[in-house]
Amino acid sequence: MLNKNQLLKFFGYKLIRFLILMIAVSIFSFVLLDLSPIDPVNAYLKQAAVSEAQRQILQEYFGTNVPLTTKIFHWLIDLFQGNLGTSLIYRAPVVDIILEKASASIVLMAISWLLSGIIGFLLGVVAGKNKGSWIDKAVKVYCYAIQSAPSFWVGMLILMVFAVYLGWFPIGFGVPIGVRSTDVTFAEWATRLVLPTLTLSLVGLAPIAMYTRNELIQVLSSDFVLFAKSRGEKGWNLVKNHGIRNILLPAITLQFLSFSELFGGAVLVEQVFSYPGIGQTAVAAGLQNDVPLFLGIVLFSAIFVFVGNLLADLSYYLIDPRIKEKEFND
């Protein structure tokens, strides 16, 4: 049963790992950013004509002449005080920007993550159970096609079909044109989510469907299934009783691991649908060498992925009776 000590130990262990991860990630990204060949002043100016004096003011502002160690030291000191600093290009606190942008992305990512997980799993089960049938072939063709297509291309295709030719959905943006976001109705807001969510889900369900299909085929060819079959179990009941639990675990792991891919996919899809999210902001921060903002987003995404993995660990506990009865051995 649920052991408090074990649970505390589990979370304590996770917390220490989390802290080490955060520090490693931030120092690593700092060094990478410092190695970046992009000159932040030039990136900010975009070939604007300014005098030598103004350029020096900007170099000071972007801290180009400050040694790396000093920069890391100050940043870490601030971080321990809970201060992520001020974005150089947005000129606003990094925390505010991330919260604002992330809230738009989270909805998008959460819905597509759920949809791709559920639909992908179902498709995989159906395909695996009916191995070799037309439905299996259809799922396979779809998955291979979508796996080999870049998500921004899928996004543009969907945009062209549903928004441009059919005109069913708006062409992009997170709010209707000319309407204050505070006056937007739920339906108006939801219509704008459909196409980006659809794109992310369609792309995201392919790996989970293929994986589930293979796992199920493997399970179905195992000895215990042969035994069950010999007892007269067949069809859907066989899959339900002996297949699902066995394939759920790897499927859930895979789906939680895809948190990181979700982030990457969202960057491209947000770009295509002009959807204002954390992805677009990350691109802007990276290209303009906005160090505080970029590191803030890196930390945010590290937390995001870490939480994803943590949730996967917890779900094992709930799903797999073997783990529930043993200890957390992580």
Partner: protein
Amino acid sequence: MDKKIIIGAIVVVLVVIIGAFAFMGGSHDSDPTHLTVAAHSNIKEPEAGFNPLTGWGCGHQNYNPLVQSCLFKTDKNGSIVPDLATGYSVSGDGKTWTVNVRDDVKFSDNSTFDAEDVAFTFNTAKQTESELDLTNIANVTAVNNTCVKFNLVEARSTFIYDLRYLGIVPSDSYDNSTYGENPIGTGPYVLDHWDKGQQAIFKINDNYYGDKPYFTQITLLFPEEATWLELAKSGEIDVVPVATSALNQTVDGYQFIEKSAGRAQGVSLPYLNDTGIMYNGTMKVGNNVTADKSIREALNVGINRQTMCDEIFAGHASPEFTGVDTRTYANPDAKVADGDVSKAKQILKDGGWTDTDGDGIVEKNGLKASFDLYYPPDYLDRQSMSTVFAEQAKELGIEVKLVGADWDTIYKNLYSSAALMQQTSPDPYKSIYQQYHSKEMDGFYMNPNLYNNSASDRLMDEAMHTSDLNQADSLWSQSALVNGGGWGPAGDAPWVWIANYDYNYFIKDGIDIGKQPDGLGNDVLINICDWSRTNSTA
């Protein structure tokens, strides 16, 4: 049975989703006095907000800040005329500018505008770390409510452009951290709502002192260039810029409007000889091919600019010779007649360049007439221009090797290789002084080919320091061609300017944008107060 359930469920879900949303997409704003504008990528969404002190409306690109108004504005003929100002005078030494301002203007928050606000705006903008360069201001003081005095570090006739483009903010309520989101100004509009990353909605400013605009609401969108054409086709937007790839397209219900912009594109040619020195240990300096005047002259005379305008820009551009052809300070004498291949070949021959090994490329003392041309490949127009330029140069016997690269790489090679550059500013300090005045090597992209000519330098310095703006124009013009030298193609020919690429827009039928000044097409909303919609069905 199970299979049927699952398939059935999927079909139901799809039908519900599609059905539910099929009826919602088409609704859009039908108020004729509302205007929706997709901003050109030059007018980026201001990350730091609609704050002139961090570059909104001024700085790199100049455009109508909508929310704020400036001391001066540009009238429909292109002249700079008073807006918030009523007049100005410049002291004999050019170092003190006195500007008188209106006394009947209120900010959108009902506070009163006076000279103190002007002084505050300029003094604060000078200290703000942004693309807006006001380092030449020593200090600004309000003499009384309607008079401001600007003390400059050194005399500069082009200061009028700073006065023209910097929007005025209220000194009483200005707060650096919140102003960008809640801008208060004296312009024709107020910011009603801003959805970051998407759109800004402006409503009419009831306190505006000028003629009230016809459009009561403007929605400014900041889309990616790749989506412009789709946006126009969707019909939801009134003004959409046209990308280079869509120049041959038409969209039903839209007029194709072409505006000259003085957006000059051309090739900078390294001016110094390669003597083996390096700048900063990393940048090679000089190029023995382009340092030879006959090569630069031959290119300027031999290429066919009109052909390039037709091929690259589908005719939506005009030949450009000096980089400032469309400005009041242009010098027509500094141009050359182009497209003359035989004359170009003669120039090369006279300069000692002949094809000795029969490979079609000329040589001089064993040196092959060949150089690298760097260009940024993410701009379709500049990529095409580089390609066509290389083809045309080959006809003359000069080999141009194309190198597509990111800006940082381009900057590192500017002193030793040709580069495809662009300049748009109407301000001669930027378009002439910083472009051609000699400088110490600094690795910066201004005067990228290290051009220097002391006679031309002197004229530019005089033009900067005079207090008479007409005289300044004349001096700028002379610096293009002085004693057979100068930065024009008829002089030292340090550049091959090629084309002046117009700004093009799809504007919905029935919208009348009035008469706009020439050469400022990047700012299509410059005269927004004169716009109207004639057919209200749109």
